[in-house]
Symmetry: none
Subunit: 222 residues, 4 copies
DNA sequence: CATGAATGAGCCTTCATTCAT
DNA sequence: CATGAATGAAGGCTCATTCAT
């Protein structure tokens, strides 16, 4: 994968242009969204002619879809769902790794970073691409997390308690993604949350959620 | 609201036009966002001339801001933050009311419903209006919730533990709002989550969060 | 009709712009065809903004259709099918008038002139507008001519002999329309055919066709 | 044509590509016209690279001219002006053959068919190629027909009566070519005119025109 | 000898806004 | 007080053509 950087010659120079466009489009789509992004701006940033998008991707919409696929691949290559934790590790450890990986993706830079922003935008203002994203990317991760939660609760993955707890956990992670503009305004005097250390944040969410799941049915909680 | 009727006869038609535009603009902004909304569409729905927006509000951006204020007022009038629970009630009870009120606003219809959608959009794609929203609407609610959480944890509102728990709670609520397009695709066979009953959902989040906060520092959770 | 020129004031100034666009579009469409005509050129000639076409006609195609209707109305107003000859006149006289009127339209200037050119283009390269043209304009004239020919031949209008002779007559007229670019190259030294006098040309076609029809079944012609 | 094969081996592929482009371009130009034809479409149909047109023909316009020459050669090779009738045959017989040959070309398929369509388009919307076409193709045929008509009328070829009658005859033939889109709409229930049999149609035009010419100066026709 | 990649001009359309009435 | 008409700036896309290989 990163062997590519060893031999710069063989790549047919067409790939370079394509990649430049993808990178530029990723930035622009992430920062202003699909509709407000202009092909002109993307091409200007990529340093290519305005007709290059049409030539390489057909139209703006196809380019957008390719950007989503490209950034998703980059994101999962950079931070696998469980990082380096074994699938055979205890559920608690896998949960911590899963959340840490999620937040690392959320607070990363480059292609991995736009991926999260693009998906945030898709959630609030879905385009035709959302179906594919959910099917190929979100559903597998959702199932993985439900498996972990099911183990911790000692219930089957289809159980409604499991489903609600899974959503409560995901919600906490997603929140930092979606609401960053609000958080920076709410706590301007503090350093941005992402420099708090994603590890420490992951630790909080893990401990908060584990405590919740373990005592959810305590009589006193009712 | 109906204090406006103090000055009785002089401008019934004028106010009506303004309100029609606000209502129409709210629907349109909520469904397609600020930039994709067109003044033509708004005026067409409101049944007024295309120049009426600029006449009554100056420009599209000012109209948007007025819509935000209008819908915020409606939302908080319809569902006050603690519903009918006394500020002197126990913290647990106020937490439950606070979350229930939040979800009621989230899943409501009409002007109150756009408000949530508009704010979701603001979070992902902030306009100049976000500063005012945070200052006037979100910050007070955030402080109120932090007060409740501080009471439960037995710590001051500025404590970082309090802050993190507050975010974990808000994150769960916001999640159902932001991610509805994803949830309906993930669980297509099930009825939409909002018909699960906002009360039951509020109950889950309350219990999950209370259990978490009460056992956050248990030695076994580390 | 021409009373309009008496009172210039009442016309709402919107009509003026519409008409300017129609006139300019007629010229441009007639000279380069629908696809090669540009909205920019049309608006430049009309002295209006480029968005005016969209405002008044919706799009280029609708404008084109309106130009066809406009020019057809002008053409038939200027030269009615039988000129001033009574429908009760002898068939031969009506034939001569019909052909004369046709050629007058063909060799006229202004809106009436483009009408012919636009229809020529429609024949060689039909757009969606041809169906309407045939139905509303060409079919009635075709039926009128077939009636005249039928009278002369002493046969019913649906007879095939009548149909073929009608086409032979129309073909002679249309020819001067369609093939002018060829004729001016074939006979460059001569004055353009249209200055030969449309009356003389109509006379030739009338006499040629009458002679043909009267002796079509002579034994010697076989 | 097959004189090209004199230089035997060296360029079989090159010629093949040229011919493929010519054939594809002929179809496309004939069906949508010069300006609406795209180089991409032509190359796609020919199965060659998009740069091949500019490589082999310089530019689109030159290709068009070559297509005209190519199709003209094919048309006259397939249907010589008098078919197999001797130049010494009686004028009436040569007229019939001339018209029959014309209609055969008109209603043929393949390269010969586009030729007629291309020329129709040239007449309504001349490009720079029309001068050459008139000089090399149309003028000789025009002179040939005027010779025949002159014989029948017993007048010299330059006589105006001869010229007018020639145009009346040509007009009838051209008509079926140019106005097919109109004719199919005028008589939708009937089979297309070209299946009426080109022979029968040629027969009608011949008899119509002969009858006309023979009695053109009858006193009763005035 | 021939190609795929890249170019820049130009098209139709749409938009928020302003102007004259 | 309010309107319909008109504006000019972009936006996405397509095209014939050229260039480096």
């Amino acid at each position: 994968m990163n062997l590519n950087t060893v031999s710069p010659a063989p790549e047919p120079a067409q790939v370079a242009t394509r990649t430049q466009i993808l990178e530029a489009a990723g930035e622009v789509f992430a920062s202003v969204g699909f509709r407000d992004a202009t092909v002109r701006e993307i091409c200007a940033r990529a340093g290519v002619n305005i007709a290059a998008v049409n030539y390489h991707f057909g139209d703006k919409e196809t380019l957008y879809l390719e950007v989503l696929r490209y950034s998703a691949a980059q994101a999962h290559a950079q931070y696998p769902p469980l990082l380096n934790v074994s699938p055979a590790a205890p559920a608690e450890e896998r949960l911590r790794a899963f959340l840490h990986s999620w937040l690392l993706r959320t607070f990363s830079r480059g292609a991995t970073a736009w991926h999260g922003q693009l998906i945030s935008r898709e959630m609030v203002d879905p385009t035709g691409a959302l179906d594919e994203i959910v099917r190929d990317k979100i559903l597998p991760m959702s199932q993985q997390l439900r498996g972990i939660v099911g183990e911790i609760l000692g219930r089957p993955p289809g159980d409604e308690q499991v489903r609600l707890c899974t959503l409560s956990i995901v919600g906490q992670c997603v929140f930092y993604h979606h609401c960053r503009p609000v958080l920076t305004r709410l706590f301007p005097q503090q350093p941005p949350l992402d420099t708090l250390g994603t590890e420490r944040l992951a630790d909080h969410i893990t401990r908060f959620s584990l405590a919740a799941m373990r005592h959810l049915t305590d009589p006193a909680t009712t």
